[in-house]
């Protein structure tokens, strides 16, 4: 975060950082005071725009076209940082001769399979690696299991040897493929697709390229304004491609910064409460692909590959030792047989629909409020109303605890309390000051919190709840001889307890287990390099190994910032191994010298024979820049002294991704699933591999070339206010915050207010295929219509914090949003959708259902119609 002051230019796109991360934003302001240029690209003029040097309004959902234009600007003018690009990226690598681009196939890459709507990726591979590309069936499984997430920190497995053309002239080298792919993304196309003028666009291209290179760096900042799209991963890929081309990765004042919105949402991904992951991004075993322990480990380490994933056997065995203790033995493959198996998509939206279908019986909510905070709120509430039992653990009586008596469906008659069978337990939770433990913040820094007071009355931590629940269940199953209960018996579930009530498990003991220890001596391990695959070490999360090095809680370190340099390496602890900038080997040139004195960060000290600098080197400390691996080397030894991207199978930053992505090796502009316009670039309208649920209670508004898109003519987006947090459970219950932001509103431009007859501070309602919600109207010039492809597109904006419980209440914006997911990570498209906007309040009671039914009928959705994933040419339209 602090490293932003080292930037010469900061591009903020897909984020209202000043509003949503105001304290972090001080570093942007400090950089600006030191002379940095700050540029904000967003559909709406916000608090971030107000203090930026330049603001560019953009049509929501068109960012790949915009960023693709920047790539095109760089490549047509040869403005890339050539020495960096040649040495550290895969620009020179030759790709398979049969690869076909979206430019050749009207919006599809080669290998698209109409049956599974997934790609056979063999033609995307590097030359000579064809057999390493997953086929369409495997890609289909990868989408269902959000497998790209398992590569968050490593990338797809690859053989170590690749064919390269160092002149970058070979027509099939990545550089030339990229150049051809983005050639169409001219300033004129950017203007036509994004509604950004050529002059404004030139300003950004100029600032970004001028402030990148040997002596200067540009930082790129995004938030869920990029993530929450049906092409969200490819948004971020495009940003990463620019940052690699301009040599901004692994360097001070550079990088791609994801600003995350919950105190430990990074931690809950690293130590995942996610269906497809185990700690440290190890995949949850899949019943087909990982039937045996060996298959599971080999799928991760991929024998023969470069980089640190080669040691995955040690990470896997150590995790199972941490889980099952002495019951994990060499003879039982460390208890691998105890693990449950995934068979496909078990994500939160699939689970919600399964609740509606009666397949899920019991549900735990742990500090999360899906009735308001998840897309398609009505489906969330109807699902919860059809459970056998629900356990809600929170500080306040959130909507997800009370939907059965005061939710919107009670008003419409869809939920009748005396007919609602769900048994609900509300168990009050301990607050952040009533327990100790670590949060992992947005730059991977773990910070330990001390306990200030004991939790009051029945309030308890999740640590207490799950430890005690585990004890109770184990007691109840103690006499069982059933096979299914073996894992429960085998679980290592002994933790020291303390606290005033003598029953709170020690969070430090858990953190120590996460760090890892020597099974024989019990001593804490210094880091993941010490992990073994022979059962002699246990480690709950390999990437966190080192947080308890020397038996000391490193996350609790609190050396004041003013007594340290900017890196502040002695405040908390960052994974991996306390490195604050990842891939920082790239901050030095191939010979190991800083690219410039001004941007010196980590460099090779030839006298001492080691890497040194302002951060812990993200590289083997004594491997010289001149090191070249022997031909048969694998694992870390196969990484050359100038391969900075040490978790990648080829040690290079990927401009072209031969694997790991479901929807293509390069980003391509697709329209949002709900869009008022036809894709101006390709016949293919939206992401052809997107994940949707084809059922009548999960409808999506029609988009061209489907008929009736005009029923929902406007584009809407949602985001945060400073004074509220997510679904409001931690803010709309508090007096000060409620007073500061008391009411749900919709922000519209004066032009749209005219068009629809909306009065400032009057009422309006917003309608989609899922819901109609009402809000006060805020007419401002911060929203402006944009000219897109020769028509005016109106965009509206809504905060998503409001719900029906709390000191201040209002209709929930998430009720409007449909379930259309990014195929790589199964995250919903909630930053852009289409809607109608009408003056006045919405109908209430059963009349609301009739009102929505009428909209669905006019939109051609009353038979549950869904657009085909692969766009059918317009001439075939009309019959459906």
């Amino acid at each position: 975060m602090q490293d932003l002051v080292n930037a010469d230019c900061i591009i903020i796109q897909g984020s209202n950082m000043a509003e949503a991360h105001p304290v972090g934003f001080q570093w942007v302001m400090e950089a600006k005071a030191r002379g940095a240029t700050v540029i904000h690209v967003d559909p709406r003029f916000t608090r971030t725009s107000a203090v930026s040097d330049d603001f560019l309004p953009i049509r929501a959902g068109s960012d790949i076209a915009f960023l693709g234009g920047v790539v095109n600007h760089i490549l047509t003018r040869g403005l890339d940082f050539r020495e960096y690009v040649l040495a550290y990226t895969n620009a020179a690598t030759i790709v398979n001769a049969n690869f076909k681009d979206t430019e050749d196939l009207d919006g599809l890459f080669s290998g698209y399979d109409d049956e599974t709507h997934a790609y056979d990726t063999s033609t995307w591979q590097y030359e000579g690696h064809e057999e390493h590309g997953p086929g369409a069936a495997e890609s289909h499984v990868a989408r269902e299991t959000a497998a790209a997430q398992q590569h968050e920190s490593h990338g797809r497995p690859l053989p170590t040897q690749t064919l390269r053309d160092e002149t970058l002239q070979h027509p099939r080298c990545v550089y030339q493929i990229l150049k051809r792919h983005f050639a169409r993304y001219t300033p004129e196309v950017v203007e036509r697709v994004c509604g950004v003028s050529r002059e404004d666009f030139a300003t950004v291209c100029d600032a970004w390229t001028r402030n990148s290179g040997r002596d200067r760096t540009t930082a790129l900042v995004y938030s869920v304004g990029w993530t929450q799209h049906s092409v969200g991963v490819q948004y971020i890929r495009t940003g990463a491609i620019i940052q690699l081309l301009l040599g901004n990765m692994g360097r001070p004042g550079g990088g791609v910064l994801a600003l995350r919105g919950h105190a430990s949402i990074q931690g809950s991904t690293d130590i995942p409460t996610l269906f497809n992951l185990l700690p440290g991004y190890l995949p949850m075993p899949h019943h087909e692909q990982h039937e045996t322990y060996r298959q599971w480990v080999d799928a991760i380490r991929h024998p023969g590959q470069k980089g640190f994933w080669a040691d995955a056997g040690a990470y896997c065995a150590s995790l199972l030792k941490a889980y099952f203790g002495e019951n994990a033995t060499a003879d039982n493959d460390w208890g691998y047989g105890f693990l449950p198996r995934i068979t496909g998509d078990h994500g939160t939206y699939r689970t919600t629909l399964d609740m509606i279908d009666g397949k899920v019986k019991g549900y735990f909510l742990l500090g999360q409020n899906p009735a308001i905070g998840s897309a398609h709120g009505r489906a969330q509430r109807l699902g919860m109303a059809n459970l056998d039992w629900l356990v809600v653990r929170d500080l306040y009586l959130i909507e997800s605890a009370t939907f059965w008596k005061d939710g919107p469906e009670v008003a419409t008659g869809e939920i009748v309390p005396e007919d609602c069978r769900t048994e609900v337990f509300f168990l009050p939770a301990a607050s952040h000051v009533e327990k100790e433990g670590t949060f992992t913040q947005t730059q991977r820094v773990l910070q330990w919190r001390e306990k200030a007071v004991e939790p009051p009355e029945d309030c308890r931590s999740e640590l207490w709840f799950f430890y005690q629940l585990g004890r109770l269940v184990r007691d109840k199953l103690a006499g069982s001889t059933l096979g299914r209960d073996r894992a429960v018996h085998a679980l290592a579930w002994t933790y020291p307890v303390g606290g005033e009530r003598h029953d709170e498990p020690s969070a430090e003991a858990v953190l120590r287990e996460i760090n890892g220890y020597d099974v024989e001596t019990g001593e804490a391990l210094p880091g993941y390099l010490q992990l073994k695959d022979d059962g002699s070490t246990a480690c709950g999360c390999w990437i966190y190994s080192g947080v308890f090095a020397d038996g000391v809680n490193q996350a609790a370190r609190r050396k004041p910032g003013r007594e340290q340099d900017l890196t502040a390496a002695e405040w908390g602890w960052a994974w991996p191994m306390n490195r604050r900038i990842m891939y920082n080997r790239a901050s030095a040139d191939p010979e190991g010298r800083p690219w410039s004195a001004r941007k010196a960060y980590v460099w090779w000290d030839p006298d001492k024979g080691e890497w040194t600098g302002k951060d812990i080197p993200d590289f083997e400390k004594t491997k010289p820049p001149t090191y070249r691996p022997p031909e048969d080397a694998t694992g870390p030894a196969a990484l050359a002294g100038d391969d900075p991207f040490i978790q990648q199978g080829d040690g290079k930053g990927w401009l072209f991704a031969p694997g790991g992505l479901i929807d293509g090796p390069m980003p391509t502009h697709y329209e949002p699933v709900e869009s008022p316009v036809r894709n101006p670039l390709y016949g293919q309208q939206a992401n052809p591999t997107r994940k949707v649920y084809d059922r009548s209670d999960s409808l999506l508004n029609p988009a061209p070339p489907e008929p009736h898109a005009e029923v929902f003519p406007y584009v809407f987006s949602t985001s945060r206010l400073t004074e509220h947090h997510t679904a409001g459970g931690m803010s709309r219950q508090l007096a000060y915050l409620s007073e500061l932001q008391p009411e749900m509103f919709i922000e519209v431009s004066p032009a749209l207010a005219d068009e629809r007859g909306l009065a400032h501070l009057g009422w309006a309602h917003v309608v989609t295929a899922r819901a109609a919600i009402e809000a006060r109207v805020l007419v401002t010039e911060r929203m402006r219509p944009l000219r897109v492809d020769d028509r005016m597109i109106h965009q509206v904006w809504l905060p998503y914090h409001f719900g029906f419980a709390g000191l201040v209440t209002g209709d929930a914006a998430n009720d409007l949003i449909g379930i259309a997911l990014d195929p790589n990570v199964l995250i919903q498209e909630s930053k852009v959708g289409t809607c109608d906007v009408r003056p006045g309040r919405r109908p209430v009671g059963p009349a609301l259902l009739g009102y929505l039914a009428d909209y669905r009928r006019r939109a051609g959705l009353d038979n549950g119609h869904h657009a085909p994933l692969r766009t059918v040419p317009a001439r075939h339209q009309g019959e459906s």
């Binding site: 399964d354 059965w404 952040h432």
Partner: protein
């Protein structure tokens, strides 16, 4: 009290004769003002904490007197936040101490019209019973090809992004042993 002291105790006099002609500083002070001390000075203890809202990770100092949180302030030592808090972080004392906070267990029986009170131990036991029962009813041993599944599709969980790493660790560890796989959190949203 002498006349001189009495006159000098009069704010208008101090305002006209002293260094505070606008009456916004020393001239406006009273004995009551002078007797006030900030809650931060009289605290029994201070815990070093981290803001529970977004992921910037601002440092907090939590001031406690007589077992109650009396103030939460930004930690000036933090190299990330340098003592600042946003409106949410500044309001986090109310998050902890608000009288709207639900501090006891509530229970809603199936088809019940209202909440009922319930003892925590009883609630825990009932929940454990339901986990055991649902798991037994929905257990899947093997797939159609005879490969192991070891799981229940009857139990799901959502949440973790607002919790501690240690908590997420135990949640995943327990659910994995129980065979519950539909475990998700805000990171998917």
């Amino acid at each position: 009290m002498g006349v001189r002291t009495w006159i000098e105790g009069w704010p208008v006099y101090r305002q006209l004769t002293g260094t505070d002609p606008l009456g916004r500083g020393a001239a406006a002070r009273s004995p009551h003002t002078d007797a006030l001390t900030p809650r931060t000075e009289t605290a029994d203890s201070v815990a070093r904490s981290v803001c529970p809202y977004c992921a910037v990770g601002c440092g907090q100092r939590v001031f406690v007197k007589d077992g109650t949180v009396t103030q939460i302030e930004g930690d000036p030592d933090s190299p990330i936040s340098r003592g600042r808090l946003c409106p949410k972080g500044s309001a986090s004392k109310s998050l902890v101490t608000s009288d709207r906070r639900q501090r006891t267990v509530l229970y809603r029986r199936p088809y019940g019209p209202q909440w009922e009170p319930l003892d925590l131990d009883t609630a825990m036991d009932m929940i454990a019973d339901r986990v055991v029962k649902t798991r037994a009813q929905t257990w899947q041993d093997r797939d159609d090809a005879g490969r192991p599944l070891n799981r229940t599709m009857g139990i799901a969980s959502l949440g973790g992004a607002t919790l501690d790493n240690e908590e997420n660790y135990l949640i995943k560890k327990l659910f994995t042993a129980l065979g519950a796989i539909q475990i998700e959190n805000q990171a998917r949203i």
